[in-house]
Symmetry: C2
Subunit: 334 residues, 2 copies
């Protein structure tokens, strides 16, 4: 099995690569298959995450610096044949909002060019596309489903919604065998706070557990819809084994996250780390962040995703636990 990945230098790409290096077998609709070739593509040279040296000899890893808006780069990436394309390259939300042209170029043109490149292959590849909860927006029902209209209130969300249409139409025409996973807010991310409006959702767990202070810019009753990095990768892997026909007439599915209030997150933090750890979070309201994050839906009916075998973390304690196991291996800093 040959797997190509765009955006392989990014956070989720690196996590997925670690999974393949740890266990180079992936599901397919016809049963598990060994990955023989992993082609990693990004504008930044994709690093091999820790564990690369333990990889089996039967797995060839090729890294390529290239741009998804360049047809030649994509032709080189796909070669004559590839079984699976994991399309993660994207300009993410704040950058796409700050620079419309950049977002359109990478998120719209880049996705389209990747699909065009897939048409040239001898066999239609499976394509996994990472969409986002940000594709939803505007005036929404209390409980959002896969059948709720995508009326995004950001250019990033609009570009993801467009990518979904392309993946679906190319799949309907049999040019690819696409799957679109709409990702909830990913938490707990390792590393440092960043410019994303949702950055605090990781910070308020991550920093206190590591002995640092964190700022909470929103009210405690604000609801979030969360999925751990571990669960994202597990669901991406799961998607590879589902027969296309199981999706019916539409290939997009909202992954089952965990609806949780910020207050519940802080309670989970106290349960895991104790009250001293909990007290490292201080409230500094930021109405701009509250407005952005508050516009994202947080209650979903994911019956369809569950029927397709996707699953979330269960509860907020499991999400905190996943962070401790995967990224906070030095233990809790009391």
């Amino acid at each position: 099995m040959k797997v190509a990945m765009t955006g392989a230098a990014g956070f989720l790409g690196q996590r997925f690569i670690s999974r393949v290096l740890a266990d180079p077998t992936l599901p397919t609709p016809n049963g598990p298959e060994a990955v023989e070739e992993l082609r990693l593509f990004d504008v930044i040279r994709p690093a091999l995450p820790a564990g690369a040296d333990t990889a089996q000899e039967a797995l060839t890893i090729v890294t390529q610096v290239g741009d998804i808006t360049c047809a030649d780069d994509l032709a080189q990436l796909l070669g004559d044949s590839v079984d699976v394309v994991i399309h993660l390259a994207a300009v993410v939300s704040s950058a796409a909002e700050a620079d419309l042209d950049l977002g359109l170029r990478v998120n719209l043109d880049g996705t389209r060019m990747l699909l065009e490149a897939c048409r040239g292959l001898t066999r239609p590849p499976m394509v996994i596309f990472a969409s986002s909860v940000a594709a939803y927006g505007g005036s929404l029902p209390d409980v959002v489903t896969d059948d709720t209209a995508l009326t995004p209130q950001s250019s990033y969300g609009a570009q993801k919604a467009i990518g979904e249409q392309l993946i679906n139409d190319f799949s309907r025409r049999g040019l690819i065998d696409g799957r679109v996973l709409r990702l909830p807010t990913i938490a707990v991310r390792p590393g440092r706070p960043n410019a994303a409006a949702s950055s605090f959702a990781s910070s308020i767990i991550r920093e206190p557990l590591q002995g640092e202070d964190a700022v909470l810019p929103v009210a405690e009753d604000l609801l979030l819809y969360l999925l751990s990095p571990r669960a994202v990768v597990r669901n991406m892997v799961h998607a590879l084994g589902i027969p296309g026909s199981a999706f019916g007439t539409w290939r997009s599915v909202m992954l089952p996250g965990c609806t949780v209030s910020v207050g519940e997150m802080l309670s989970a933090l106290a349960r895991t780390g104790g009250s001293d750890v909990r007290s490292r979070v201080r409230h500094e309201p930021d109405s701009r962040i509250e407005a952005i994050v508050g516009s994202w839906p947080a209650r979903f009916d994911t019956t369809r995703a569950t029927a397709l075998g996707f699953d979330g973390d269960g509860d907020i304690d499991a999400i905190v636990e996943a962070f401790l196991e995967d990224d906070c291996t030095a233990g809790i800093h009391q």
Copy 2:
């Protein structure tokens, strides 16, 4: 007021032009304004419909042969400023299904390039975009609303859904002041049967009233959602007068059509033309056409459209009457 129109040689464009020639005043959110300039753009030289010679002297009409996928042509069309862009140029359903590249080029790239060209203007123009009931598809609720997800089952529908995302995002960013009208099946169209799957919806009224036989390829209980050409133009004109803010967070609206079974259409034909006229329709089932047209939704809740002041024909008798008045002026051929 300067108005530019793409696809001006097409059916709806010609109807809209006739309306402006008959009455060169159009609504705006600030009240009615006289049209001073009408710029007509199409790959085919747009004809001036009958009535052009009666136009008022104060109205300048410019025709331009150009392609919406050519930035220079669009720059010429828009000039330094334009108040309203009516974007009708499209590759329609059967052609977009037969040729994916053509549909993507005109319907996706063309719409995007038009929006890019609008960004260069001194003032954001109002842009009216004709979307379609074909943007809906797949597994749908019994009654479809503006909040139902667009899961089209044709490349034409996918490309219209993408155009909607672009119009909405550019509007949200204040680069244009867009309005998207999702059109029901248009009937009764004048002229001859064509290759469209919905062609029979016009034929079974038009041909018998003009003394010719018509073929009905579907069962009489099949439901359609119809709007007369007259009502489309009336609603396009109405859209120009609505303040952008009235649309809330989304600029797309399904126009209120008329839900009618084919059997009810034939009854209306008999009421208007008599039983001899009715007997000119013969049933020749065509499962391919039945499958395509049967997949389009026919029951809509258009409360939002109605609240915005859009309105349909009322009933099938009014649709037949509109055809007799607008396009069958020679009277009924008994």
